[in-house]
Symmetry: C2
Subunit: 253 residues, 2 copies
């Protein structure tokens, strides 16, 4: 359980600055993350950096500057450096960052050294796409269960998994010791299944259904919604179009 910290550059590292509560003497942190809290906006970019670093690693790259990494991640370099500074000082001035070391540190900060056991609820095209997504396994995420309600698909195999009946949700979650869930079900049943997941002790849910889920606040819910994204694109496209028309009208005048 307690994740080994990936090291390769043993410099100053120990930081005892707790996150506010329980200050005073060193609680010394049972191996795992006693890191201070990362601002949400920065947190959301860390996976991007990690992905870029991983790509560099497989290219055999050993060092990288903030400038290059920022470019690869599509941000500017001061932003990148500030983001990394929330984790610690893992670079070398005048040189740059060690690719392997930095990726290890980001992984640790994100908690990817732990074993995440993901249950996917809903085995339609989307659920199957997710189950077969290669990006999962490579990052400490293991899909341990796949559910559906349709008797026609229950029992089918997808990759290494057999689709379980959603009736047995609670039992299978317990047996597989899943600690995360992905909801890829129709909107109408999403809230009900969310409730059952929460009831079963799941506290991290990724929701693909186009509804706002209600859950206790100790449950972390994130949503992915392509309709929303398309609508935002439509807004910008419409504006671009409108200002083009306006420009043409100005010319014609």
């Amino acid at each position: 359980m307690a994740p080994e910290e990936i090291r390769s550059k043993p410099t100053e590292l120990e930081r005892e600055t707790e996150n506010g509560e329980s200050s005073s003497a060193g609680t010394s942190a049972a191996g795992a993350a006693a890191q201070r809290h990362i601002p949400p906006a920065s947190l959301a970019r860390l996976p991007i950096y990690l992905r870029a670093l991983t790509a560099m690693l497989s290219d055999g790259r050993e060092r990288v500057s903030s400038e290059e990494l920022a470019e690869a991640a599509g941000v500017n370099s001061p932003k990148l450096r500030k983001d990394l500074s929330y984790l610690g000082s893992y670079g070398t001035r005048g040189v740059g960052y060690d690719v392997l070391y930095l990726s290890g540190q980001i992984s640790a900060a994100l908690g990817l050294t732990l074993n995440w056991r993901v249950a996917i609820v809903g085995a339609g095209n989307l659920g199957r796409a997710l189950a077969g997504y290669p990006g999962f396994g490579s990052r400490g995420f293991e899909v341990v269960a796949l559910f559906d309600a349709d008797p026609m698909v229950i029992g089918q195999e997808v990759g290494w998994l057999r689709i379980s009946p959603v009736d047995s949700l609670e039992a299978v979650l317990a047996k597989t010791r899943a600690n995360m869930a992905v909801l890829s079900v129709p909107a109408e049943v999403a809230q009900d299944l969310c409730d059952r997941l929460v009831e079963s002790g799941i506290t991290s849910i990724l929701n693909f259904a186009p509804v706002v889920l209600q859950a206790p606040e100790n449950v972390q819910i994130r949503k992915v919604d392509m309709a929303t994204e398309l609508q935002i694109l439509a807004y910008h496209a419409q504006r671009a179009q409108a200002s083009q028309i306006a420009a043409r009208a100005r010319l014609a005048r």
Copy 2:
């Protein structure tokens, strides 16, 4: 082409306040949106409000207060009101909002009254899931083409569409007059296809591939990445776990 404005409460509406450039005399706006610019954070929430309103409409609901709508959308009511205020004053003090009217106004602001013709590139499980997604058609988005590179799937039918060879991308985009694209292809080929889309005049792209795409800045790109979302969940779950362990350690002391 020029979208009809959905009306049902003809009050003060005309706003000529252009977005900065081209001020002076009334350019009078060719029917469409001459609205002022909406802050990104608010913009991202409008689709959620719209979805909640649509659900209320189909429940036969006619009026709603900011409090109720906020609840349904998972935000607090001052935030909702401020967001709506960027569009205009569409409520009635002491009463609330007309559900139909407000949803029409949000749709118009987002540009959903125009016809968006979407091409989906990549017909794997994800691409098929997207092609069959019911949320598209209902919001002014029409899937007009579906591409794949695999000779085994080219020619297959998905819903009303036949899968086209990606070799004919440019030709089919032109013929179908697509003005938006969704990329649901493997990461390795995403940038190449993005380039071809841009070359063909597409300026709005929704990217599901786990790479940062490079494109000219007049091209709007949005990304959806489940690996990123899961990693953010992992971060929070790990923290919750860590602070639980810390609490237990404090008790044991």
